[in-house]
């Protein structure tokens, strides 16, 4: 039986999209604190304002992240949500599960929490919403002993790394994103669980430039699969697209016009590096930027090359505070090699962290630090040579920061010597 009247929320039980209100009511039958979730949310719908207090530091012993404190500002009316902390579970790479694992997590959350979850949070964690301070240690004990898994990150630490599904079920993926994601997650458990950074730091791995985890927009360290050699073309399949036997765009558009190679592929190629010579599709691969459009349009005919690796881009973030930043191309091509434990990638990460942990200001994302000190400084820190790929366009202003040792004779000059030849 509902504990509170929720006429506004009840409106959200109507309509074709799955209703979270109906779902919470269903859960409330066995977890009565869910009635108080609805009760407090109904008050927010009436008041048009949140009723959660600011923060609250809670956690499990020895960790500085993974739990986010949350308290109601109406605990008397809604005692079921007086404490309502969030628990972030580190998700398995690419968010594959079996039902035994999911049922075990459900049982754990039935025992210790509200029964409500986010599948998943924006960073990637499996988020358990709503438990009390006294339940945290027993929950963590069962999580690590019985479920044999761990918390994710929160606060100024390495946030739980996340990846697309990669080679597991995608023909575009240029490396095994799940394996790299898992390796880095295991390698950096300390950095995930114990905040020691100026601010949060996010790894995200996408298998190709389609970037299905949006790593270029939201990760401090973005690893995007790419290839160095030629796009592999199957001319017989090209012919089938032209004849209409293959569906354009992998069937992604049910009302697509009949395939037109010129209009749908060649004219939309951003570099104009493709042409038809008779029945043959030709690509000037030297001029290709691997944007993926032709592969997306003709997945049966075009495939990534065979010399595969990844590009590293650094410093993306959402707008708080100085405005949003896209990640900046830092290393155009890096080897992704599990046989040496991804040595090349880890070397870059450690260089960045060593520097950022020294010069980064409190609550400054690495992209903001790079902005503040300039991309040339960041390139030097990583020991890289400047290359045209680092910029969209060369500098437009003339203000070069020359150093003394770059100029013959250096900066020290004698103004009296100068005056001997140049009267004041």
């Amino acid at each position: 039986m509902p504990k509170h009247d929720t006429p506004l929320l009840d409106e959200l039980e109507k309509g074709p999209w799955p209703s979270f209100v109906t779902d919470i009511k269903r859960q409330a039958e066995t977890k009565p604190e869910c009635w108080d979730i609805l009760g407090q949310l109904e008050v927010s719908f009436v008041d048009k304002i949140t009723h959660w207090k600011h923060g609250g530091i809670v956690g499990v012993f020895g960790y500085g992240g993974g739990i986010v404190g949350r308290y109601s500002d109406m605990p008397k009316q809604f005692p079921g949500v007086a404490h309502f902390h969030t628990v972030r579970l580190n998700q398995p790479s690419s968010k594959f599960y079996n039902t035994a694992k999911l049922r075990a997590i459900c049982d754990l959350w039935e025992k210790y929490g509200s029964g409500m979850t986010n599948m998943h949070g924006s960073t990637g964690d499996l988020v358990l919403l709503g438990t009390t301070t006294e339940n945290l240690e027993p929950l963590f004990y069962d999580l690590t002993h019985d479920l044999k898994q761990d918390l994710g990150g929160s606060g100024s630490n390495l946030r739980t790394p996340a990846c697309c599904l990669g080679t597991a079920r995608c023909e575009y993926s240029c490396y095994d994103t799940a394996s790299l994601c898992h390796h880095l997650t295991m390698h950096y458990q300390d950095e995930i669980h114990r905040p020691a950074f100026p601010y949060k730091f996010k790894f995200k791995m996408s298998g190709c430039p389609n970037d299905c985890v949006a790593s270029i927009a939201r990760s401090d360290f973005s690893v995007i699969g790419t290839w160095k050699d030629d796009i592999r073309i199957d001319q017989a399949e090209v012919a089938k697209y032209i004849s209409g036997d293959n569906k354009p765009n992998g069937g992604a558009k049910s009302n697509a016009s009949a395939f037109d190679m010129e209009r749908d592929v060649l004219a939309l190629c951003p570099t104009g590096c493709m042409r038809m010579k008779g029945d043959e599709l030709q690509i000037d691969n030297k001029n290709c930027t691997r944007c993926m459009h032709c592969l997306n349009m003709m997945p049966k005919a075009c495939r990534p090359g065979l010399v595969k690796g990844a590009s590293i881009l650094c410093g993306a973030k959402a707008p708080i505070l100085d405005g949003a930043q896209m990640a900046t191309l830092t290393i155009p091509f890096i080897e992704i090699n599990p046989d040496n434990d991804y040595e090349a990638v880890i070397d870059v990460i450690e260089e960045i962290w060593d520097w950022w942990m020294t010069v980064g200001k409190n609550r400054e994302r690495v992209g903001e630090t790079i902005q503040r000190v300039g991309l040339p400084t960041f390139i030097k820190v990583l020991g890289l040579d400047p290359i045209p790929q680092h910029v969209k366009i060369p500098r437009e202003n003339p203000y070069v920061f020359w150093t003394s040792d770059e100029v013959p004779g250096g900066f020290d000059r004698d103004v009296r010597e100068f005056r001997k030849k140049h009267a004041q």
Partner: protein, 375 residues
């Protein structure tokens, strides 16, 4: 056995990380990983991936609310046990994917999903409107300027047919963040729904001494609007506190994040801004930020009709006007933003002219423009 509160450190296990993903792969995925040749979307919400070995992985994608109960997860498990050998996965956009290894298993799976009311809508593939990724909102966050789950439910109800069909010029990725912190990273979405505050923070002089480090509160403001000041608390005592120069405030809320004694949420001040034209893929054009086209719509629970109507209008004008395979941002760039405002009928206001850092880059410095009703 189990946790012993008297000896919390006994048998403690830490830093074991997540379970290894490979144990959760369906057999067809495990056997064909790295060998996939191509994929095809055979109908909205249904994909087949074909391996070099000839093996097929059929995926049925269903939309879900991000906020779901363990009862619902258990129901998903029942479905996966019945049809998918106990395997399933979630996408970054809060969809659930059920995978089977042959075509003849697809229809029974869909029939099962559809027999369960509206809990498991099939769709979210190709040139559809994607499931709307979002943040917590009023159900669990302390800084929101709007709700999340409620707004998303209202918007997805209205756009439902676009989730389960593939008739748009290109995909539309929809996202909601309930404040400027953008936990949901909506800043590169085709259509972004963003909670915004419009009133400067209040200062709770009774609480500030106990709750805040004043230098951190002062440093938190990117525009230097928070200054140290003496103030008098309710006891009549003079205390060290801060003051806010309201003219400088851009309502980012960063001071409240750093100092709980500076709340800024307000029923009338808060609401929603709409941004359009962002994308993250590198396909054809470069990744781009979304642009603010509607600076404010009121919070009108439970169904936010102004927000729903505004989004529907943008989607419908885009659907009619854009070229095939052209994302919203690419369409806006091609026709020009003046034509975007003309065609959608959205009033252009001063609020869409950037006056923050690097604003100059967004001003027009050419005689190339189109005449519209604006001039």
């Amino acid at each position: 056995m189990g946790y012993n509160p008297d000896k919390p450190m006994e048998d403690r296990i830490t830093d074991i990380g997540p379970p290894h993903f490979e144990q959760f792969y369906p057999a067809v995925v495990k056997e064909n990983k790295g060998k996939w040749l191509y994929h095809e979307i055979t109908q909205p919400g249904v994909m087949v991936h074909v391996s070099e070995s000839g093996a097929e992985c059929w995926t049925v994608r269903v939309g879900a609310a991000r906020l779901i109960s363990i009862e619902l997860i258990r129901e998903m498990c029942d479905i996966a046990d019945a049809h998918c050998d106990g395997c399933l996965r979630f996408t970054t956009r809060n969809n659930v994917e059920f995978m089977v290894d042959s075509k003849d298993k697809v229809q029974p799976l869909i029939d099962d999903l559809e027999s369960r009311g509206n809990k498991f809508p099939v769709g979210g593939t190709g040139t559809c409107i994607s499931n709307c990724v979002h943040t917590q909102g009023w159900i669990h966050c302390h800084t929101p300027a709007t709700d999340a789950s409620g707004v998303v439910k209202a918007v997805m109800d209205e756009l439902f047919d676009y989730f389960g069909s593939m008739t748009l010029p290109a995909k539309i990725k929809l996202a909601l963040a309930c404040c400027l912190n953008m936990c949901g990273a909506v800043h590169c979405s085709d259509i972004a729904i963003l909670g915004v505050h419009r009133k400067p923070p209040m200062i709770d002089h009774d609480a500030i001494s106990g709750l805040c480090e004043l230098p951190l509160a002062i440093a938190s403001c990117p525009l230097g609007a928070v200054k140290p000041a003496k103030a008098t608390n309710s006891e009549g005592e003079e205390i060290k506190s801060v003051k806010v120069n309201a003219e400088r405030c851009m309502f980012c809320g960063n001071c409240y994040t750093m100092c709980p004694a500076m709340p800024l949420a307000d029923p009338d001040g808060d609401g929603i801004a709409i941004l359009v034209g962002g994308k993250v893929s590198n396909t054809r054009s470069n990744p781009t930020f979304s642009k603010m086209v509607i600076p404010f719509l009121p919070n009108t629970p439970p169904r936010w009709p102004e927000t729903v109507d505004a989004i529907k209008n943008i989607v419908e004008v885009y659907a009619k006007d854009a070229n095939e395979y052209e994302r919203i941002g690419e369409w806006c760039e091609r026709i020009g933003w003046e034509m975007f405002f003309e065609k959608t009928g959205i009033p252009f206001t001063m609020k869409s002219i950037d006056d923050y850092r690097l604003a100059y880059d967004t001003w027009r410095t050419t005689t190339n423009f189109k005449f519209t009703s604006h001039c």
